[in-house]
Symmetry: C2
């Protein structure tokens, strides 16, 4: 893509209200725009990152046999009344102009909706197990909307739900989902701890959060870096300095960003919506469920928090908006045009800075945007291209073959 066809411009100064690196850098680079507190637009560069993260998530959910679908954002009162969640304070209410009552909530989660849908399709043990997921805009009336796109009133989530005939089958899928989640975060360039946490449908039930250590995180976790054992503070059985119960490592206290969570739901939702199946022995039983979330937009913010330096963002190649940032310092621009077309022909995602501006401005913009490979064509490089990896100081002379 030519940089001139992006309508966004970068900014040299951080927005005055940005309290975190992700907010400052993503806004300065033109990845996101803050429309209201906690409400963001994903500008063309940022949307490319969101789509790359979403595709990684989709691939890993598909790989464990889950199927994609889309449920409504308008969640009918009937759903949330069935589980006493109509009045929970994270919710937004929706009504038509001039109407006296709220007809809908804006969905922040979809256990109720999917359980009711499934109850019309499932009747036998032969219909189980299965799981379904969606990548969807979600809403929370979030008073603490402050850390850029880490905690928003409107955000993009992947939520998945699984349905099982037996507890053993549920547990087997739950373990598979842990591995799929580990794959997602690793592919996104993040080191996430699978952390024991509270919050299940039943008191005392253990759930798991995926936590990325970062000073801007809102959670406190206790981790053993040696064996990767981790507990959220809320359910902690260890404290900093303790010996880890699983190995000889020493427990550390960290602040961390929660990028995903997985929950055993037991039969709570099946009971509320009468979702039963006939078992092999003819008995009617409630379906056992689990739910599995990943914050897609929060993941973008977390990657920005972890992967940046003082000059700007340093995107991992897997989620970068482009693979190559082509800068042209020549007068004619012919060599850059040829290189751009050759790279496009090879299917390389290339952003060509075709703006009429100084070399210094182009270099600073490239550092801010953080595309993995910077390719400079100038009078002094002749028929070669100066190639530099973002985040490294090493500069090599090469040809377009080295960029493919």
């Amino acid at each position: 893509m030519k940089q001139s066809s992006l309508f966004t411009k970068t900014s040299k100064t951080a927005p005055s209200d940005a309290v975190s690196a992700n907010a400052a850098l993503l806004e300065r680079g033109g990845f996101v725009y803050k429309n209201s507190a906690g409400v963001y637009s994903y500008l063309p560069l940022g949307w490319r990152v969101i789509r790359k993260i979403s595709d990684i998530v989709r691939e890993e959910m598909d790989a464990i046999g889950s199927v994609e679908m889309l449920m409504p954002a308008l969640v009918d009162k009937k759903y949330l009344e069935a589980t006493d969640r109509w009045g929970v304070d994270v919710g937004y209410r929706v009504r038509g102009i001039g109407e006296a009552v709220d007809a809908f909530a804006l969905g922040w989660t979809h256990e109720e909706v999917l359980t009711e849908i499934v109850s019309h399709h499932i009747s036998s043990y032969r219909d189980l197990p299965f799981s379904a997921y969606q990548v969807q805009t979600k809403f929370r009336n979030e008073a603490r909307a402050k850390s850029g796109i880490l905690r928003g009133k409107e955000f993009i989530m992947k939520d998945m739900y699984s349905f099982h005939a037996t507890q053993e089958d549920f547990e087997s899928f739950y373990e598979k989902s842990k591995q799929a989640y580990a794959n997602v975060f690793k592919r996104c360039g993040l080191d996430a701890y699978c952390t024991r946490a509270a919050g299940g449908a039943f008191t005392g039930n253990i759930t798991h959060e995926f936590q990325v250590v970062s000073p801007v995180g809102e959670d406190v976790i206790y981790v053993c870096p040696k064996c990767r054992y981790a507990e959220n503070k809320e359910v902690a059985t260890v404290k900093a300095g303790d010996k880890c119960p699983k190995c000889m490592g020493v427990i550390e206290e960290k602040t961390a960003i929660e990028v995903g969570n997985i929950f055993p739901l037991g039969t709570k939702y099946a009971d509320a919506f009468n979702l039963t199946f006939t078992a092999e022995d003819g008995a009617k039983k409630p379906v056992i469920m689990g739910s599995y979330g990943i914050g897609i937009s929060r993941l973008m913010g977390t990657i920005a928090e972890i992967h940046h330096d003082e000059a700007g963002l340093v995107w991992p190649a897997s989620v970068a908006p482009f693979a190559v940032h082509l800068l042209d310092f020549t007068k004619s621009g012919t060599a850059a045009k040829d290189a751009y077309e050759a790279l496009q022909k090879q299917g390389v995602a290339v952003l060509w800075d075709d703006r009429q501006t100084s070399a210094g401005d182009k270099l600073a913009t490239a550092d801010l945007l953080g595309i993995p490979l910077r390719a400079v064509i100038s009078e002094k490089t002749g028929d070669k291209i100066e190639i530099k990896k973002r985040g490294s100081d090493e500069v090599t002379l090469g040809t377009i073959v080295d960029l493919i």
Copy 2:
């Protein structure tokens, strides 16, 4: 995909409240589920169709140089107050539980939001022209929500906005968008009339709607099938039986479904948000805009209305959820498994009906789901596969090579 991993089941009977073929067939086939009046879930099969339509739309918008982004569904009061649209009755209002005032509307269109964003990035004629689009869930407080997914309270739209320095440049892009729209509808298997219509930002301004002739349509249009001249009734200068002003054809009156529209916006939104640029001569001028919509979910409903017979849906290959529906009538299932794996290896999107049910049930389900190629493996076909195109009666014996 194995049919057993879809959790949905088909139904032999139409929902009692379905008033249109698209609602009846899409619900019976398990493509969509009605959660509330005008509010639908896209089940795995339906979501595959939506994604195929979206990808076609994206390709055609990218081809005319538009860039994709995503704006919020929560549209701040400040945006709509600036253009006196805060109180328009198609809007939904959003407030937090226990809060006294509505903070947001749910976006049904995004002229205001994008114009304000752009005003922070654009300053010179060198920054123009450009256009940006999004594929997004939109909301309308729709009293007439009745025709399946043709008119919903929540629906999926592609909305695009273009920004220009001159009227000539706008007009040139407007004509390009007409061609891109024609490409989209043709690729989706629809014959859409580009129809003169009202509704522009200025009285007397002409806009264009893309209309597909169908008895369930809510619009009345006058068309000349010979030269494809078309006018919406609201602005009609001709009536049925008239001679077409453009050719010697005869005008016909038709009911039609509006699947897209394109609007000149003039400087209405630029004026409201002070979106100006410095022209080559140094003068400050307001930006000239256009807006361009396609109803993605409505398109799915329209395709279902146009492409079905009494047995079920007949998807055009371009938007079909799968390319091949593999049915197995043998006891062992070995040949079907081999064929399934071979097709998957070749990258063919194949749905394998691996359910334990009768041949009659499988054939009826295949007709209802409407996947373009049906491939039957049975004891009597030996090592051949019986191949039938949905919508045709001709059956041929072939091999998997004929399905690739």
